[in-house]
Symmetry: C2
């Protein structure tokens, strides 16, 4: 098989990502974990949570919105729960410490709960729930974010897109995982539409008078709507209460914008619940039972259209792991520009030629 030279080996991409972060002022400790997170996002095909965000991260590092180095501190709340003060470092780094502590709590007590305050944007929650799944555990992970979503029947943006993620292990080492904005659209989807000058679907956003917006560029003057009205609104408040109110993090307007307030730590909050399956039943029995469920679900349409949450992510992962990652055009532009500016010599040339 001919090697596709426009694809980049994930280890190579990790090297490049690490070099960019470190040249950009990120300490080695954080840079390593941030690179793990961003490259994983590329592997599963979530460009929006991958290296595309490097410029805003570095801007935040430069202006103080993300602290490097940082000294996160855990305060234990009970034998199976803790709050982590992230010291305004990277959300990806803090949330990784948090999920590892929650996993370790769950190993010793069956259940682990960790809340995080004084953090920043953490990327995709799927990364963290899969870390729990890899250990035979079920994970629930959520984060608040700066307000751009209305309350149900509200007009002004008052809640974040407040993502909620869930993951459960599958026998093959993958996981059933989802990571959803509790708003009708994710912020990253709006940015994607804006970049492509593509109108938003109807019924997803409103202006300050409650009139529908479909122009993604106008979203700054309006707000996204919660997913499914009262349901997404309720879920968003739950995320705000667990990740924000209960952890001591910023709440609603108390969370700074990743893009507009580059000098100000986000004060985002995260919240994680991890359950060690074998305390409840043998892991093999859990897999059998879960396969019974997923088998029925997959067979509920004859045309193969029913996918499990995460299914496409794992197809991407396997493909990108073996064939190399094909960076999106925008990401490739961003990465090559940063490499040029920073004098980073790792050779991305074959991939670049395709850009």
């Amino acid at each position: 098989m001919m090697k596709d030279t426009t694809r980049i080996d994930h280890r190579k991409l990790h090297e490049v990502c690490l070099a960019i972060l470190m040249k950009g002022g990120v300490d080695k400790t954080q840079a390593g974990e941030v690179a793990n997170n961003l490259v994983w996002s590329e592997l599963v095909g979530r460009e929006n949570f991958g290296l595309l965000r490097l410029p805003v991260f570095l801007k935040r590092v430069k202006h103080g919105g993300i602290k490097c180095p940082c000294v996160p501190r855990f305060v234990e709340c009970s034998p199976g729960s803790a709050i982590l003060d992230a010291d305004a470092g990277f959300g990806q780094y803090a949330a990784n410490l948090a999920i590892e502590r929650a996993i370790s709590f769950a190993q010793s007590t069956g259940v682990g709960i960790v809340g995080v305050r004084n953090s920043n944007f953490f990327g995709t929650g799927a990364y963290f729930v899969h870390k729990a799944a890899e250990k035979g555990m079920i994970g629930l992970v959520m984060s608040n974010s700066f307000p751009k979503v209305t309350a149900h029947n509200g007009l002004a943006p008052i809640l974040g897109t407040n993502p909620f993620a869930f993951g459960a292990p599958l026998r093959n080492g993958e996981s059933l995982m989802f990571d959803m904005a509790t708003s009708a659209l994710a912020g990253s989807t709006v940015r994607e539409h804006a970049a492509r000058k593509k109108p938003l679907p109807e019924g997803m956003a409103v202006d300050a008078n409650g009139k529908p917006i479909t122009d993604p560029a106008s979203i700054g003057k309006g707000a996204l709507l919660p997913a499914a009205g009262a349901k997404g609104y309720g879920l968003s408040l739950m995320v705000e209460i667990l990740a924000g109110v209960l952890t001591g993090a910023g709440v609603s307007k108390g969370v700074a914008s990743m893009y507009k307030d580059v000098a100000q730590p986000g004060d985002n909050g995260h919240f994680m619940i991890v359950l060690d399956i074998f305390r409840f039943m043998e892991l093999e029995l859990f897999y059998d039972r879960l396969e019974y469920l997923t088998g029925l679900v997959k067979a509920s349409s004859q045309d193969g259209k029913v996918l499990l949450p995460g299914e496409i992510r794992w197809q991407n992962y396997k493909n990108n792991l073996s064939a190399g990652i094909k960076l999106g055009k925008d990401t490739l532009g961003v990465v090559s520009k940063l490499c040029a500016q920073m004098g980073i010599t790792q050779n991305l040339a074959p991939a670049l030629q395709d850009a």
Copy 2:
């Protein structure tokens, strides 16, 4: 003020409800808690989860779908978690035992997790999350149910309406609480539309070929759709995995229909997570911070249209507690018929005159 004689004091309604349940073959232990649950549902104005369900409950009791008496048994999984085998009794009774145990776990370890298997329909999850909120705790409660919802992009009903409830205490003793079906519509809403011969909103249900259904009477030949597509589908699978797969309860088609399979225990599963707030922060500080959030949310529309989850429930509760409960016409019909059949002499006459 003139007393509204068409309203029934909640204690009186409890007496009547208890008498009906016991005449219908329910043991005193379960009957007391089921009556608490049904009367609470009436107090907060959720007729669909109130005494309206008595006929189907009694039918299930008579034919063996709900076991009376039952001997539920806890198996402890870790110092803060357990599985309850409900022995095919009332879901309302089992879930109450479960939330009380989860609260007690949370009191001793900070976090309580209880899963329930071999149960039946448990009514509204809001009842249970509020029990946790009354103790200064946050509760998450979910239950699986028999399949009447498609997977995202699926055609056949394969998942339950799988409700998810959340509650957090407010300073005034009420709670911010929601209880949502993860499907586009709740089963009870479909029954309500069917009873009123009112068409369903578009985009909520499909027939076996995927064509939209709006006739609630045809839902038996089709299926409900998940709320917000992939989002509700993911949440529904989460509920099925936690409440069904992990507890050892029935999963998907393994859960029997409350209405069609009256001789067969539902084998529904429930799952509860309770967090004791004071382990994370002083309760007064939590209330302050939550009020900051709810204040901003309420103020996000000038017209007073933004309501907190549960707000209308608590208005109903206060009103019904002091003025008496005004039973819905259908419920009044059901209750008076049962009283007449069973020779129950508690005097509902003033309320009945209005029926």
